[in-house]
Symmetry: C2
């Protein structure tokens, strides 16, 4: 059984898909537009979906030993730029704070587009021994990417909500195993909670995360256009960030004094799932009568609209 | 029974309270300092406390009919300044974004110091009839107040996490009742979850929320200094914001055509509880051996530290 809101949508999904999508979101009471371009209001119906996804995923990663934390929204320019190929991927989209009140800041400060460079200086400090590994942290927050492309509710927005997991491991094998475990959970969010089919796969080199080693992804598809859409990504960062930020431990198998001097760079992963899931879900399930939500993420199971008086 | 981490604090709570507080937080693994002044990292132990407070409070307000939502992090200068006495209270502390990538924005954009002015233009749009009342929304997010005073972990920080509830009511009576219900919940967070005594009361006119009608508060106290500290505030905003933002409904008791023209301004409340609760809790329960956490908000119930080898 599905909870469905029957609202008059005056355009067919097959005829004008972008217009249909907008109307479904607005008339389905999921979202409202905001007076700053690329920013949207998540109304209670869509927030409820996200809160359900959050509760489900959070309980699963806790079983994997992941703990939640909160790193700041802000990152200094120096730290942001420490990993060159990473910042090259984000520089054009970074929002900069230059003033506090009427006072010009000595140095401009970035709003995080993602938290690798925010967090990893502290991983270098906290990880002193192989006994500190694995370190598995996650945060639920919002990030900002000031894109100039045409925004799309839930799909391409300047601020979006997500979870970002950041883990450090002793071996490539441990890191690689986790990458796929998380990818499995992402697929289950789509398939079990949202009733949306996705394909698991690996991104091409061109599409992989800036600064990472390889990127795995769950990909959905957009009806009408028939195009694929990235649904959630689980990256193995390899040792690139650990090298740049100096995150290393003594080899636990070292025996000789010479071997003990040998520092091993940790293997890192990062993985994120965003409110984009809501957009993909709406695109798949909505129809010409309006919004259709899968039962596991809907607050109101049935709405009966009496017609007439 | 209490979960306690026994860590070597090398200063007495009675002798140097500020230094003691810092050491307890750092050595108790609650927090780390960050390279941007006034910003801190909430490590898993303190995030766990906040997540417990969140789960408890969220379930209570849901029973009151409050729904969660997410409004954007950003607010345009025009909208921020619409309510003069309100902005006067915050203007000196607003962080301004002026650039996206290397592009200068046409108009600078503020990061919300609180969301009254972010949300109420939409309340004006969504509230068209008394049947749309009460409107009770809440969001869990972080806000930014770029203070130049000396920062204190959890107590005075440039970014902090909180919940902010924003409600609109038909009558002064309904609004006033909710103000006190929320204040009761805040007192229970302190007393039942955190085992911290607080006093309920009303702020003086000088201390009340900028733009509001009256502010109720739970006040804790800081040991050693013996000074009071604001623990959480529940504001009745009266009709000041509804007047400025044009949030009104037709009088449901109107009978004549003349009376039906009479628009009633809604009565509004806003209420917030922040991660400050963690700081107050630590100050109350910590001792010269270090961090002491009350059992309801601690992940690890007992830590036994073997001494010697």
């Amino acid at each position: 059984m599905e909870g469905a809101a029957l609202i008059g949508i005056d355009v067919s999904k097959d005829v004008d898909f972008p217009e249909w999508y907008q109307q479904v979101l607005l008339k389905g009471d999921m979202l409202d537009y905001y007076d700053i371009s690329g920013c949207y209001i998540l109304k209670p119906a869509s927030q409820f979906v996200w809160d359900e996804v959050r509760a489900w995923f959070d309980s699963r990663i806790k079983k994997m030993g992941v703990k939640n934390c909160s790193f700041p929204l802000f990152v200094s320019e120096d730290v942001l730029k420490r990993e060159q190929s990473h910042i090259d991927g984000f520089a054009a989209e970074v929002a900069w704070v230059t003033h506090g009140g009427s006072t010009k800041l000595e140095k401009k400060i970035a709003i995080r587009p993602t938290s690798e460079t925010v967090m990893y200086p502290y991983y270098a400090k906290w990880i002193q021994s192989h006994r500190d590994l694995p370190l598995k942290l996650n945060q639920w927050n919002s990030v900002v990417r000031w894109e100039f492309k045409h925004p799309q509710p839930f799909l391409r927005t300047r601020e979006f909500h997500w979870q970002e997991g950041h883990t450090a491991h002793l071996t490539e094998q441990d890191a690689g195993k986790e990458v796929l475990e998380i990818l499995d959970l992402y697929a289950r969010v789509y398939e079990e909670l949202l009733a949306v089919p996705v394909m698991k796969g690996r991104k091409t080199d061109k599409e992989r995360f800036a600064g990472g080693l390889y990127t795995t992804t769950v990909e959905g598809y957009i009806p009408a256009t028939g195009r694929g859409i990235q649904g959630g990504t689980s990256h193995c960062l390899g040792q690139n960030f650990s090298k740049m930020f100096g995150i290393s431990v003594q080899d636990p198998n070292a025996k000789t004094e010479e071997e003990k001097k040998n520092q091993l760079l940790v293997w890192q992963n990062s993985w994120g799932l965003s409110t984009r899931v809501i957009g993909v879900m709406v695109m798949i399930h909505g129809d010409d009568r309006g919004l259709v939500l899968p039962p596991r993420v809907v607050e109101t199971q049935v709405v009966i609209v009496p017609v007439g008086v």
